[in-house]
């Protein structure tokens, strides 16, 4: 992996950006969804998996993740999101079909899995499932130590990872004294310390209040700016539309469709077929366009953007 300096992102970076240790940036600069390179980092090809008790986990799922992009995976409970993620990390092995990482079929040997898991980081939905050391620093050090790195490197990585999620002050705290949102961030740090290329988060927003969501989002933006590819599961279509470059829909083990988030307004039927509503901002914008209050040029991705557009139009009128 060539270490390459990344252009500073225009996105807000509230978390300290002094991170000397994250020099493993993707060579593909990528901002606000404009792809300069469409290298597929992770590809599922018709993957099927059935749990031992007969439950269908995945049922012919195909999906691809472009390097450096932000991806939202939307699906109802039981759609197979967690199962899909565990496949991406090599925890589960497809019974049919195949998975490619960086163009190569996953190698399920010991060494192969080791490599895969250092490249693909998985943050579990329930932080208590993932955190099992007593102190924050110890827990974050767990992954890099498993990679066989020396103590000094691990120490640096732990500090950098805790900084990246804004938890450096809590390094010597016991895990059980943290709030839910803080535990989540420690989980992310624990995976970041392994310096993955692809970070997968299973329903990261679940159970977080508004402020904690905003904090987590800031962390994710920061990671994206550093070139890390992001894939997260969510139920929230409004959030997915606002945040993601690409949206993947899933239902009953199938990856039913995928489209660029910017093209979501044209995919209203796909959404409703999956039982999902069109984001409120899209409907509102459509209405404003039909009423000729707004020009039909660019679709806003969030209410804030829509309001900004409205304000600008007001100025034009005056």
């Amino acid at each position: 992996m060539k270490p390459l300096k990344h252009q500073p992102s225009h996105r807000r970076t509230p978390v300290s950006s002094a991170a000397p240790d994250f020099t493993y940036l993707s060579p593909h600069g990528l901002d606000s969804g404009i792809r300069r390179n469409d290298e597929i980092l992770l590809a599922f090809e018709d993957v099927a998996f059935r749990y031992p008790d007969g439950n269908t986990g995945l049922d012919g799922c195909s999906l691809s993740i472009v390097r450096g992009s932000r991806n939202a995976l939307i699906g109802a409970n039981g759609a197979g999101k967690t199962t899909l993620f565990q496949h991406a990390n090599g925890l589960l092995r497809p019974q049919k079909g195949g998975i490619r990482y960086a163009g190569r079929a996953i190698d399920y040997s010991r060494a192969g899995l080791r490599h895969l898991r250092s490249e693909v980081g998985l943050v579990f939905q329930n932080p208590d499932q993932q955190l099992f050391s007593a102190s924050v620093r110890e827990d974050v050090s767990f992954g890099p130590l498993n990679l066989g790195l020396d103590t000094e490197t691990v120490r640096q990585r732990v500090t950098a990872a805790l900084q990246a999620v804004g938890m450096e002050k809590f390094a010597d705290r016991p895990v059980h004294n943290l709030s839910f949102g803080q535990k989540k961030r420690v989980c992310i740090a624990g995976v970041l310390a392994m310096q993955p290329q692809l970070l997968i988060l299973d329903e990261p927003m679940a159970g977080l209040d508004h402020a904690m969501r905003a904090e987590l989002l800031a962390v994710l933006d920061e990671l994206h700016a550093r070139g890390i590819t992001l894939l997260l599961a969510t139920h929230d279509i409004d959030f997915a539309y606002r945040w993601a470059d690409r949206i993947h829909l899933m239902s009953s083990g199938r990856c039913t469709s995928a489209f660029a988030a910017a093209e979501l307004p044209d995919n209203a039927e796909t959404l409703s077929a999956a039982g999902l509503p069109v984001p409120g901002v899209v409907e509102l914008h459509r209405l404003l366009v039909t009423r000729q209050i707004l020009p039909a040029i660019s679709s806003p991705r969030s209410l804030a953007e829509l309001i900004a557009q409205l304000n600008n139009t007001q100025k034009d009128f005056q």
Partner: protein, 248 residues
């Protein structure tokens, strides 16, 4: 949880755990080396004083933590004070009061008190995570340490799960009558057993996803003045032992 709060909130949090462990060890040796009960009592008093004044553990809190073990100590003394005397083949026996006088009881109480004070000093000034790290450095077998780490962490996860399930049951009147309470307790146990099993499994998966291949390795914390702390602790421990042995 009280111990936890003290361990994280005391003035000597940043002192090297090795030093605190050394001092505790000094207290232990002093407790057993004490020639007279008065000497052991003096050691106990001194260690308590150091814990309260030096490390800044509030005295009422210290007493609350010390009460349960003191209760056990009392029980132990009582069992020494009485003794049953069976006489021959007949079935009657007599209860003897103080068969061997006060001396062994005083000895036991004072020594145990001193040892308890030393142990509480360590427990109240050093968080569990530091103790585990210390034991690791002392080359305690990895397996035992892993079990300790997991137990310690699971303690909190399960007390939470237990609390949640109990509350949910109580909210639906699960503990309204003794009969219902017994029933609820049963299903609580069953539920927790299942949860433990599931947790263990998901923990294993999570560890695997972070490339774990069996052994648990963690980073050890660093302390600023290990040498200095150790010297002071060694001096303190020696003082205690000297006091215990030297007192007439």
């Amino acid at each position: 949880m009280l111990i936890e709060q003290c361990a994280y909130g005391n003035r000597w949090r940043k002192v090297a755990p090795a030093a605190k462990g050394l001092f505790c060890l000094g207290g232990f040796i002093a407790a057993f080396a004490a020639s007279q009960p008065a000497a052991a009592a003096a050691v106990a008093g001194l260690v308590v004083l150091i814990t309260v004044l030096g490390a800044g553990v509030p005295f009422p809190r210290f007493v609350r933590v010390a009460l349960p073990p003191l209760g056990f100590l009392l029980l132990g003394c009582l069992s020494l004070a009485y003794s049953l005397d069976f006489q021959g083949a007949s079935n009657d026996f007599t209860v003897l009061w103080l068969p061997s006088g006060w001396a062994p009881i005083r000895q036991l109480a004072a020594r145990s008190g001193a040892a308890l004070a030393a142990l509480l000093f360590l427990a109240l000034t050093t968080p569990m995570i530091d103790l585990i790290a210390l034991l690791r450095r002392l080359k305690m077998p990895e397996v035992l340490l892993e079990i300790m780490v997991l137990c310690y962490r699971m303690l909190f996860v399960f007390s939470e799960a237990l609390h949640d399930t109990r509350t949910a049951q109580a909210a639906r009147l699960g503990y309204a009558t003794p009969r219902l309470a017994l029933r609820s307790l049963g299903s609580l146990t069953a539920n927790l057993t299942l949860q433990i099993w599931q947790r263990a499994h998901s923990l294993h998966i999570a560890a695997q996803s972070r490339n774990n291949d069996g052994a648990f390795r963690f980073l050890e914390p660093e302390y600023a003045h290990v040498r200095r702390d150790l010297t002071i602790a060694a001096l303190g421990g020696a003082l205690l032992i000297g006091l215990a042995v030297g007192m007439p």
